[in-house]
Amino acid sequence: MLKPAAIFDPLDIMNLDLTPEQQAFRDEVRAFFVENTPQSFKARVRAGMRLEPAEFVTWQKLLHARGWGAPSWPKMYGGTGWDPTQLYIFETEASKADAPVQFHQGLELIGPIIFTFGSEAQKAKYLPAIITGDDWWCQGYSEPGAGSDLASLSTRAVRDGDHYVISGQKAWTSYAHVANRMFLLARTDPDARKQAGISLFLVDMDTPGITVRPVVTMDEIHHTNEVFLDAVRLPVTALLGEEGKGWGYGKVLLDRERGVTAATTTRLAQQLRGARAAAATARVGEGCLLDDPRIADRLAQLELEVMALEGMVMRTMAEAASGQDSGPRASMIKVRWSELLQEVTEFWTELQGYDAMHFGAVNNAPLPGPDPWAAKGMLYSRVTSIYGGSNEIQRNIIARRALGL
């Protein structure tokens, strides 16, 4: 029920009237994050940037050592078995400590598909290494001609005795250059209708025929790649579930999406904190930028929009806890989160003024001024309204599914 006795501050989200057990849990995770978040991560995390792959692995191993390697997984597969409230507490405490979001492609994208639809052999082989951080998975879904329009993919998988032979090209394969595993969609039946005839494969990246070409993005960081598949020969055991049903397996992720968006969205408080600190430390004449009521108002505007989004996330988690459908709210949250991440990091960059113009070293000389994390985070943020279904696609989805248009 709506609890009028709740003491609530959306930016200090844990002041809800928690049960004593929940309070103890909060204290436990809070202490963990405060003690264990590497200092070197914090500035970049605060700017909304992704860590380096090796750092992600370090973080995953730290969590695994504490038994929290897979916060959202059921216990039987090595997860924590936490309920939505616990997950939400975990993520908001991480946010407050400037701890990163775990890398999601193994944990949140393929892991749940494997434990839902995979064979026992696949579960045994793949799940533990996701939790320990020993395996790094990348996702081979998008193709040059099939970005938003995934159903028109053209990578082919041809059965050849006990093998499939896969040829094609994948685009936007994040971290293919560091991954040792890849899950990919390929067309096994060229005559079937668009979404039918597509199968899901689990691939070792060292299989002959796989070539990775780096794609550098406008934040000057190497996140993503093209992957060329040239007659890549896989044993039939690489097939996950049934042939031709690969498209449908992704649906299991829709139910889990709420948790993933919540984890990411709670991190906006980090970026807000960074921007506020920048305004408070930027000296102008005798005062600081935050003394300017125009600056203070713009910060307040961003803050209240973040609060509204936090409220949407909290309602979603509450509905998840009581088994209710949240309709298209996960799509809405993705849209608003990416818009706000862009606005907050843009404003933060503006607050830095000329410091934000000192972006890269010349002849390896030290940069004059602070590291340009805010500017890099700002540039990176441009892709968040494009990936995972662009915001335009999200609006199409909401209009069609939820509004019936």
Binding site: M1, L2, K3, P4, A5, A6, I7, F8, D9, P10, L11, D12, N15, L16, T85, Y88, R276, A280, L290, P293, A296, D297, L299, A300, Q301, E303, L304, E305, M307, A308, L309, G311, M312, M314, R315, M317, A318, E319, A321, S322, P328, R329, M332, V335, R336, E392, R395, N396, I398, A399, A402, L403, G404, L405
Partner: protein, 378 residues
């Protein structure tokens, strides 16, 4: 973290919505407006019978002493059905000011709960904009009580009120928090001139002129000079109630627009088939989600501690205003010409939302309030 209503609250919601739908059919509403009646006394009596007017009246005065959630549920229905009853003034704000404030106040509180009195607070003064401490109205002590002189520039529902809670300065300078006292005066007190006017949402507000208004000792509510904090708390409760009203109005405008997109045809197809309009209504849907979330948070925060309470209310007032004005304006735009007529409810929703934005400080005012609170918290 459970944002759902209790079974009892859900029943209250169903009953309020049903009441609105049945008693406030739009054609009848327009006819009442044309007759110059903001609302029917009969409807006020009905609401008293349903117990709504006593939600915020203490139990020992015959009230229900309910939580802010019950008020939210009622106000949402008021907004959804364009109801003009002075519920927020009389049954949300006034009770906060009349609680534990002496026998005369208790009597009036019981009368409010029974539907026999309507009371507004005169919180605004010329040159004060939205600053509650801008009180230039003076209350001088007299042998028998007080003499009040001043002007109150805007009193919500002041044109239909039987009585007023009037902040007046007993000490200090204009703008000080200290020195503001609260007085009770009935509308027919000599020297109290009520100048009513109709707002664009057809609510009947008023300006007050106080020209040597003589009040007895029993007119003082609470401690002398200590009224400021209580006034601010009461207004905050009113702000949150009006957010629920805005939520009801914007969701109604959104619902009407969605169904218009589905049914209205142009160029041979329903206009909802046009992608640009689809994306617009999706943004309206998101705005409604934001407003609902903020309204919940603000309602919960009313029972919470400072500074979270004030920060949440300030943020909610700003965000609900912003999102609701967006929805109200786009609802008209997507209806095209018919949305601009008086003959459809859609324009009336926007006018209601504009008035709610302005009430007790607009979006900008509350954003600045949040900015101040955030600086203090940092």
């Amino acid at each position: 973290m459970d944002f759902n209503l209790t079974v009892e609250q859900q029943m209250l919601q169903d009953s309020a919505r049903r009441y609105g739908a049945e008693h406030h059919v739009f054609t009848a509403w327009r006819a009442r407006i044309a007759r110059g009646e903001a609302f029917e006394r009969k409807s006020w009596a009905n609401m008293a019978e349903l117990g709504w007017l006593a939600l915020n009246v203490p139990e020992d005065l015959g009230g229900l002493d309910a939580t802010p959630v019950e008020t939210m549920v009622i106000c949402e229905a008021l907004g959804r059905h364009l109801m003009l009853e002075p519920f927020v003034s009389s049954c949300v704000i006034a009770p906060q000011l009349l609680r534990e404030a002496g026998p005369r106040a208790s009597e009036l509180l019981a009368a409010i709960g029974a539907g026999e009195a309507m009371v507004s607070v005169a919180d605004a003064e010329p040159d004060g904009r939205f600053n509650l401490n801008h009180v230039a109205t003076r209350a001088e002590a007299t042998p028998g009580g007080f003499r009040l002189d001043g002007v109150k520039s805007h009193v919500l529902d002041g044109g239909v009120a039987d009585g007023f809670v009037i902040p007046a300065r007993t000490s200090g300078a204009v703008g000080d928090a200290d020195g503001v006292s609260l007085f009770l005066a009935s509308a027919d007190t000599p020297g109290l001139v009520v100048e009513p006017s109709r707002a664009m949402d057809n609510r009947v507000n008023a300006r007050l002129r106080l020209e040597g208004v003589t009040l007895g000792q029993d007119a003082l509510l609470g401690e002398i000079g200590q009224g400021s904090a209580r006034l601010a708390q009461a207004i905050d409760a009113g702000v949150v109630a009006r957010l629920a009203e805005a939520l009801g109005a914007m969701e109604a405008a959104y619902d009407m627009t969605l169904s218009y997109l589905r049914t209205r045809s142009q160029f041979g197809q329903p206009i909802g088939a046009f992608q640009a309009l689809q994306h617009r209504i999706v943004d309206m849907a998101i705005a409604c989600e934001e407003a609902r979330s903020m309204t919940y948070l603000a309602t919960l925060s009313l029972s919470g501690a400072e500074p979270a309470r004030s920060r949440t209310i300030a943020a909610a007032k700003a965000r609900v205003s912003q999102t609701s004005l967006f929805v109200g304006r786009q609802a008209i735009q997507l209806h095209g010409g018919v949305g601009f007529t008086e003959e459809l409810a859609i324009g009336h929703y926007l006018k209601r939302l504009i008035m709610i934005d302005m009430a007790f400080g607009n979006a900008d005012h509350h954003r600045t309030r949040l900015a101040e609170l955030s600086r203090q918290a940092a």
